[in-house]
Symmetry: C2
Subunit: 425 residues, 2 copies
């Protein structure tokens, strides 16, 4: 059972501040917990705030999940939900916020409030094969997993299910994916189920923990220490932002254990350190051709293409050294697959000025408008955790996840990675 209070409100009495009413935060006190979620500005110019408070604690949170009918119990829970009042919600919030106080801003009414039960369930399979051995039936979103609606997870995870499926389906239909020889199965399309079942399971496990912090029992009984509370809250940001996800090794995800050719980036993946299986995060760069500042995510639209991103090392201008060799080999790899299936892109760390003629001509031919230097305000190498002496080659999937991360010298590995994902011509 979740009590979900959603209203326009204002803190009317301040003892020392409580500026955090406009920040997503959780208040954890002796009297229980409150989660604060800042919402959008509405037509009046006011900003909404959503609060989650704990329920009275005498309702069985698992009632909805039982397989026994238990009609009498359900009806009793329903009755109790109906008894949750605005007064109860404000009483609970004020007990947690004390010595600060909260009430509805004069002249406004709560936008919405409700108490509701959460059912945490998932389907064992997200896809199904026809007798020819090919996945032809797929389910996404609410059809295969239900959980807390907190922070729009339902919508976000459903969109990610669909996005994961759509490019693989498009590649399959267009005949871009290599098929296993013994049957008609599409080895790329098959990764949809594995990746999304695993994601749904992680999310539901997390959601059960997270929901527990705000439901069922008050803090004293759950026995969560403040540090545990904080950890669960922080882990949640990975799910709510979508950046905490890490796909497991597969044909599309080559983990660093595969080979000595792999690079391990330094730093926290959540801040951008390149990690196989995680999203390739945005950086600000300066485009070489026209010297304009670009956001890399704007430059790599979701158009079904893989990206072969070469972070050159500082020897870029020296002929026959690793950067130039890598660029030429990567151009050859891109040319081996159907036109437009792999976009070559280049980031370089140089501060000095140079001309197109000083770097391999394949760069201008294939990546004139996808060659970037560092922006004034951000150092892409630092964010990605790659040294300028070593550089790296990154294979980025059409959905923006890092598929492989290799040394500039690991050209066979890069070639094999793409042979596993795309047909050759």
């Amino acid at each position: 059972l979740r009590i979900n209070l959603h209203l326009g409100l204002d803190v009317v009495e301040l003892h020392i501040g409580l500026a955090d009413i406009r920040n997503r935060c959780a208040v954890h006190s002796e009297s229980g917990s409150v989660m604060v979620i800042p919402r959008e500005q509405i037509a009046t110019g006011e900003y909404l705030t959503r609060l989650y408070v704990q329920d009275p604690g005498d309702v069985d949170a698992k009632a909805d999940r039982t397989t026994t009918p238990g009609d009498e119990k359900k009806s009793s829970d329903k009755k109790k939900r109906a008894e949750v009042t605005l007064e109860y919600i404000f009483g609970q919030a004020n007990a947690v916020f004390a010595p600060y106080k909260i009430k509805i801003r004069e002249g406004t009414v709560p936008d919405w409030y409700a108490a509701y039960q959460i059912g945490q369930r998932m389907s064992p399979k997200f896809s199904s094969r026809t007798p020819d051995g090919v996945d032809r039936i797929f389910i996404v979103g609410d059809a295969c997993h239900t959980h807390s609606p907190k922070a729009g997870q339902g919508m976000n995870v459903s969109m990610m299910d669909s996005f994961n499926l759509s490019w693989k389906l498009a590649h399959s239909i267009l005949g871009l994916t290599p098929h296993a020889s013994e049957n008609g199965a599409d080895t790329v399309l098959e990764t949809f189920e594995a990746e999304r079942v695993d994601t749904a399971r992680q999310l539901i496990e997390f959601d059960a923990k997270f929901s527990h912090m705000f439901s069922g029992k008050l803090n004293a009984e759950t026995g969560l220490t403040h540090d545990e509370f904080l950890k669960v809250f922080r882990d949640g940001s990975g799910f709510t932002s979508g950046c905490g996800l890490e796909y497991k090794p597969s044909r599309l995800i080559w983990s660093p254990q595969n080979s000595d050719d792999m690079v391990v980036a330094t730093g926290d993946p959540i801040n951008g350190a390149l990690t196989v299986g995680r999203r390739f995060l945005n950086v600000e760069l300066k485009r070489y051709a026209d010297n304009t500042t670009r956001q890399l995510h704007d430059e790599l639209p979701s158009n079904g293409r893989y990206r072969l991103m070469v972070l050159t090392s500082s020897d870029l201008l020296e002929p026959d050294r690793q950067s130039q060799k890598a660029l030429e080999a990567c151009a050859t790899i891109a040319d081996k697959h159907p036109a437009g299936s792999i976009d070559l892109a280049i980031i370089h760390p140089l501060k000095e000025r140079f001309e197109w003629t000083q770097i391999p001509s394949c760069v201008k031919r294939l990546a004139e408008m996808r060659t970037y230097g560092l922006a004034k305000t951000e150092d892409a190498y630092k964010i990605y955790g790659i040294t300028k002496e070593q550089g790296a080659i990154v294979a980025i999937r059409p959905d923006g996840y890092v598929g492989a991360l290799c040394r500039l010298s690991a050209l066979d590995t890069v070639e094999k990675y793409f042979q596993g994902c795309l047909i050759t011509i």
Copy 2:
């Protein structure tokens, strides 16, 4: 006569570089001038480039402006325009670009090319009064000025005409503007004509100079030195970006000469230094209430409201010093005008943490979500040319132009400025 070549193309032979094909630039050589305007990416993934080259020089560029009919002359010019060929255009471009060469990328055709004449004309009046003394007829855009279409000036200046008119008209219709007592004239609405006639005149004067660089006669005959050429090119950026415009003093524009209370910002207005009559440029800031990074222009939507922007000085936390006094007085000024006609907004220079309770309560009441500190990457005070010791009060018009720029102590001036723009309640 203007020759306007617009095509997908590529530089196929590079001697040392010519990276500037993707930059807006002008090439000024012994053989004449070429202007290069990078254009958008098209469906094929290619980027278009527009080139302006000089015409053959034997056509009278003024023919279109003569008041004498001269039918024979016109027909002859028309015939000559028809003779402008792709070969001529590429010949001229290659002569200017030498030793570099330019030709159409294999497998593509020019997107568009044409030669056309420019008529530079403007209407003496942009508005007209009915017998009751009120401006009731307005013209904007092509109806009152025609000039070179270079860089979309026609579209941009027309939109700015309309934008300048629309908020003044809305204020007039809503009864927000003070009327002169002796007749029904609306003193705010009257500024439309003065501001936009002046803008159109400046633009046309500039355009005549600019067009001359690329038409009529070759360089040797125009006698433009390279420095003069550069200056005209640079001045043009102010018009094409819309940020070079400066409205003259009026009821809505209080120039620094008016009073000792005024502040003069240090720095180049084009980089952001606050200047009465010019646009209030964007900066990146950190919003106090939720610690998020914001672009100030996103925070100040075009909704018809004036902004009373207080750049507090570093004494913000000290009671009864200039910052706190200014904030309280500005709140009082905002409260004297119709609700929603003036938005209070605050920028502070402090690095230390503080609470809402340490600053006047009117700030949270009127500007909770419009109170900003400095962003990591940009120093708003430096960009605006205001010292942190002195601070400033900026009155910003609904169209984003700086109407007044005063010291924190100049509260009477601020009050009088708004009394001239808005009715009091």
